[in-house]
């Protein structure tokens, strides 16, 4: 996946849109939310004992006879934690959904690596402890099988994902499992520097068409039911999906996290160019 043409094309054309978001981390190319040692001036304040005297503004002292400290924005190199939903539902609808999910994960990992960060890729499935990939082991994505039957909510409750404080978290899932969006997003955002929420659906999940009588089989639980998939049913489904997406978006806004819904069939290139850039997750170089 590291050498996927679309991924390579994306990382050459876009970079992560983190600058607009105050963050924290080790010294690097990105700016944190607090003051630090970067060269970008932020503000003045009065000198207090214990302040680094190298930051005293002697010119200001000469003009106002007051000791003023020049405060600079902290420059960090962020820790990026990418969580991909490896449940069976991510493999539905052909290969598009799983492929795009892997491409997104690889893209964000490589972009984070280019910034000097140390990306961690958590594969959320039924295995404990959760498998986590580094940029060196990114090729493992190629062989990744989507066999999980649990959901993200269960993982967070279990504390199965070893999140680091002040990390940038990117969560890729279809979010189609029963959950409370507020609770889920709050837990994902807890102690993070930033959170990006990406809902990845296939075309049928986003815009189903009438199929007549079908035996619906839940790919994760094995539950079954018979249903006539007609316009009425589809309309009801769309209304429920819309409510879910609205709830996820509102919960994400509360923690200053962008939320975007992607339809896998449109392909990575198109998604990067439109949806991800519009959401501010990527920006063109």
């Amino acid at each position: 996946m590291r050498h996927d043409p679309e991924v390579q094309n994306a990382i050459s054309r876009y970079q992560m849109g983190l600058l607009r978001v105050p963050t924290a981390g080790q010294s690097g190319e990105l700016l944190g939310r607090g003051t630090g040692s970067s060269l970008e001036f932020q503000e003045y304040r009065e000198y207090m004992p214990g302040d680094d005297i190298r930051h005293l503004d002697w010119s200001a002292y000469a003009r106002s006879d007051q000791l003023m400290i020049r405060l600079f924005r902290e420059e960090i190199s962020p820790r990026t934690e990418i969580v991909i939903d490896a449940s069976r539902s991510m493999g539905l609808g052909g290969d598009h959904k799983s492929l795009v999910m892997k491409q997104l994960a690889a893209m964000f990992a490589l972009m984070s690596g280019q910034l000097g960060g140390r990306p961690a890729l958590f594969i959320a499935d039924d295995r404990r402890p959760v498998e986590h990939l580094t940029i060196e082991s990114l090729n493992r994505l190629d062989d990744l099988e989507l066999t999980g039957s649990g959901d993200l909510g269960e993982l967070l409750v279990d504390g199965a994902i070893p999140f680091k404080r002040q990390s940038v978290r990117i969560v890729i899932s279809d979010f189609l499992f029963p959950h409370d969006p507020d609770t889920l997003i709050r837990k994902l955002a807890a102690e993070s520097a930033a959170l990006w929420v990406i809902q990845l659906l296939n075309d049928f999940e986003q815009d189903p068409t009438p199929l007549g009588g079908r035996r619906l089989v839940d790919v994760e639980t094995g539950g079954e039911t018979d249903m006539i998939i007609n316009q009425d049913r589809i309309q009801q489904y769309k209304e429920r999906l819309q409510r879910l997406q609205t709830s996820l978006a509102r919960a994400s806004r509360r923690v200053h996290a962008p939320f975007v819904t992607l339809v896998a069939e449109r392909g990575l290139t198109e998604l990067c160019h439109t949806d991800l850039c519009q959401a501010g997750i990527l920006r063109a170089e």
Binding site: S87, R88, S89, L92, D174, L176, F177, P178, E205, L211, G213, R214, R215, L216, V217, D218, V219, E220, T221, G222, G223, E224, T225, D226, M227, I228, I229, R233, Q236, Y237, R240, L241, L244
Partner: protein, 610 residues
């Protein structure tokens, strides 16, 4: 509001409901569609545990429509009837079963067919669900069918063939009134409007389809056989019931070979006898009468069976000087079918009354006094002039009056008898008791009596010989009228000689074979169909007899007239055809359906919603 099903068997169609459900359950599977986020589809997913596998019945529009259609069809077939909406009328039809209903009109239609046409016409004006009970008049009232629909009644009517001689129709009317029980309508179909004096039931409608028609027919036919001459004589009586003189042709055939043919003219409303000699040994002859414009066929044909000679052998053992010997010989010799024999195989033994015969069930015996030859007893014997007391019911004394007879030489009885003729307290003739022999004794001294010179003497002897002849095994008559009972002796004695062979006794006609009970005296009830009947014992033919239609009153079609009398009161009330099991069938079907659903919902495997 009364509610019932006219055709409760239609409710069996409800069994199609669980069948449809089963078909949907097991054969109407949808193609699978893998999804996630089932809660967004508003579906409650079920995950079956291990063990019993049963699926929820998919409640689809298709299933509901099919169940609804099956329910409606079943209910339609069951023909539910609410209140008076689908009222069923019960029509009890009494059919005149007299033979005149077979008469053919100049248009070529029988009265029978005309009556059925009237019935069909009447039914067209009734409700569609009218049910019929069909019964015929006659000596034995027969119920042809009912209560049945017209279609079923039509089959029963196809078998109806009226052939009764004249009879009382009131018992059939009474039976119809009983059947109606105040709830049904009554209809009497006939060819002759009954007189009001017969008081037909007020609630009965009467339709007569009769009309005056010309007819000729036999009123009597006999075959007399002279054993001495070995020559037969047919005695026929013909009748012309029409209004015009007609020429008759009488044809006799034996085994399809014409034996004789005569033509004669018969004036209007008259009868004429005709005698036709016929050689002996013919066996059976079929005589047919034909005339132009003749309407009724049944009285135009007779079949006669040649009578058999049943000679009674009289064993006469009276002494040569006995005053009764000559009178007995004189009478027996005068009779055609009796002869005097000296052998032991006599049918009737006539001897002196002084000695009681040995007991034997096959023996017939007549003892003629004097009871004792002793002079003292003869001196004490009484000579009587009467009056005489006779047992009139005894067939041996039929026609015997003993008027002016001097009964001389009556002595004291040496044995017990049942008196048949008495004078005061003195029995003069009696039947023996305490013996199996059928014995009679005359307590008389014919030398002192004028009995043998009186007309009573040959009558007495002839009666005795005829009784003996009737007691011989075999048919005593060979030609009967319709509706006449047949009786004959199968064997003499207490034991059936063929009992060991257990040969079944059967009565064989042209159309069927009926079993007959074996006994010493066989009784065959009156036959209703003219023709030749054969009595068989096993494979052996025991005898043959013929039954013919003779009924001048029924043959006379000149009094028939059409007519109609409406019912004075018309009790049109609900006749519930409801089968008492219809609700049980409905309840059973509902329980089956309920059981299927309960079994489905209660015993289904544990599920968990996804």
């Amino acid at each position: 509001m009364p509610f019932y099903f006219a055709n409760p068997l239609g409710l069996l169609g409800l069994l199609s409901l669980p069948a449809i459900a089963a078909i949907h359950m097991y054969h109407h599977h949808y193609p699978p569609l893998l999804i996630t986020g089932a809660h967004l589809w508003g579906a409650e997913m079920q995950v079956t545990t291990a063990g019993r596998k049963r699926e929820r019945l998919p409640i689809t529009k298709s299933l509901l429509l099919e169940l609804l259609a099956a329910l409606l069809i079943s209910l339609t077939l069951a023909n539910p009837i609410f209140g008076n909406t689908g009222r069923v009328t019960h029509l009890i039809v009494v059919l005149d079963n007299s033979a005149s209903m077979q008469a053919v009109t100049p248009e070529g239609e029988t009265f029978r067919q005309a009556a059925l046409n009237k019935l069909e016409e009447r039914l067209r004006s009734e409700e569609r669900d009218t049910v019929l009970t069909l019964m015929t008049t006659g000596r034995r009232i027969q119920k042809l069918a009912g209560p049945v629909s017209w279609n079923e009644a039509r089959d029963a009517l196809a078998e109806w063939k009226p052939n009764e001689t004249i009879h009382d129709v009131q018992p059939a009317w009474d039976r119809a009134v009983q059947l109606a029980a105040g709830q049904g309508q009554l209809l009497y179909l006939t060819d002759h409007m009954p007189e009001e004096s017969l008081r037909p039931p007020d609630e009965m409608e009467i339709i007569s389809v009769g009309q005056k028609l010309a007819n000729v027919g036999f009123t009597t036919a006999r075959w007399i056989y002279d054993a001495t001459e070995q020559q037969g004589l047919l005695f026929l009586r013909l009748a012309n019931y029409g209004r015009q003189e007609t020429e008759l042709t009488i044809t006799g055939t034996v085994k399809n070979q014409e034996l004789f043919s005569r033509k004669t003219k018969l004036s209007t409303k008259s009868t004429a006898p005709i005698e036709i000699p016929i050689p002996g040994g013919v066996g059976e002859v079929r005589i047919k009468l034909s005339a132009p414009g003749d309407a009724l066929e049944i009285d135009n044909v007779v079949t006669l069976i040649e009578p058999k000679v049943r000679t009674v052998k009289v064993g006469l053992t009276l002494p040569e000087d006995h005053p009764g010997r000559e009178p007995v010989e004189r009478i027996v010799n005068a009779l055609a079918d009796a002869e005097i024999t000296t052998g032991e195989n006599s049918h009737l033994q006539i001897s002196s009354a002084s000695t009681k015969p040995a007991s034997s069930i096959r023996e017939w015996w007549l003892g003629i006094g004097p009871m004792s030859a002793d002079e003292a007893n003869q001196d004490q014997a009484k000579d009587l002039l009467g009056p005489y007391l006779l047992e009139k019911q005894n067939p041996i004394l039929e026609g015997v009056v003993l008027g002016g007879v001097v009964w001389g030489g009556a002595q004291a009885w040496p044995y017990e008898v049942i008196p048949m003729v008495s004078a005061g307290a003195t029995p003069l003739m009696g039947r023996l008791t305490g013996t199996l022999t059928t014995g009679f004794a005359l307590n008389i001294d014919l030398a002192r009596s004028n009995l043998t010179q009186s007309p009573d003497w040959p009558i007495l002897l002839m009666n005795l010989i005829e009784e003996r002849r009737n007691a011989l095994p075999g048919l005593s008559r060979w030609n009967y009228r319709l509706n006449e009972d047949i009786q004959f002796r199968l064997y003499e004695g207490l034991v059936d000689p063929d009992e060991e062979q257990a040969a079944p006794l059967t009565l064989v006609s042209e159309t069927d074979t009926k079993p007959v009970l074996r006994s010493e005296v066989v009784f065959i009830s009156a036959q209703e169909i003219p023709g030749v009947y054969t009595i068989k014992s096993g494979e052996n033919i025991f005898g043959k007899f013929a039954v013919n239609f003779f009924d001048p009153l029924e043959s006379n079609l000149s009094n028939l007239r059409p007519g109609r009398r409406t019912a004075a009161k018309k009790p049109v009330q609900l006749f519930a055809l409801d089968d008492p099991f219809s609700w049980l069938i409905l309840l059973g079907s509902a329980l089956i359906l309920l059981a299927v659903l309960v079994d489905w919902f209660v015993l289904k495997p544990k599920v968990r919603s996804s």
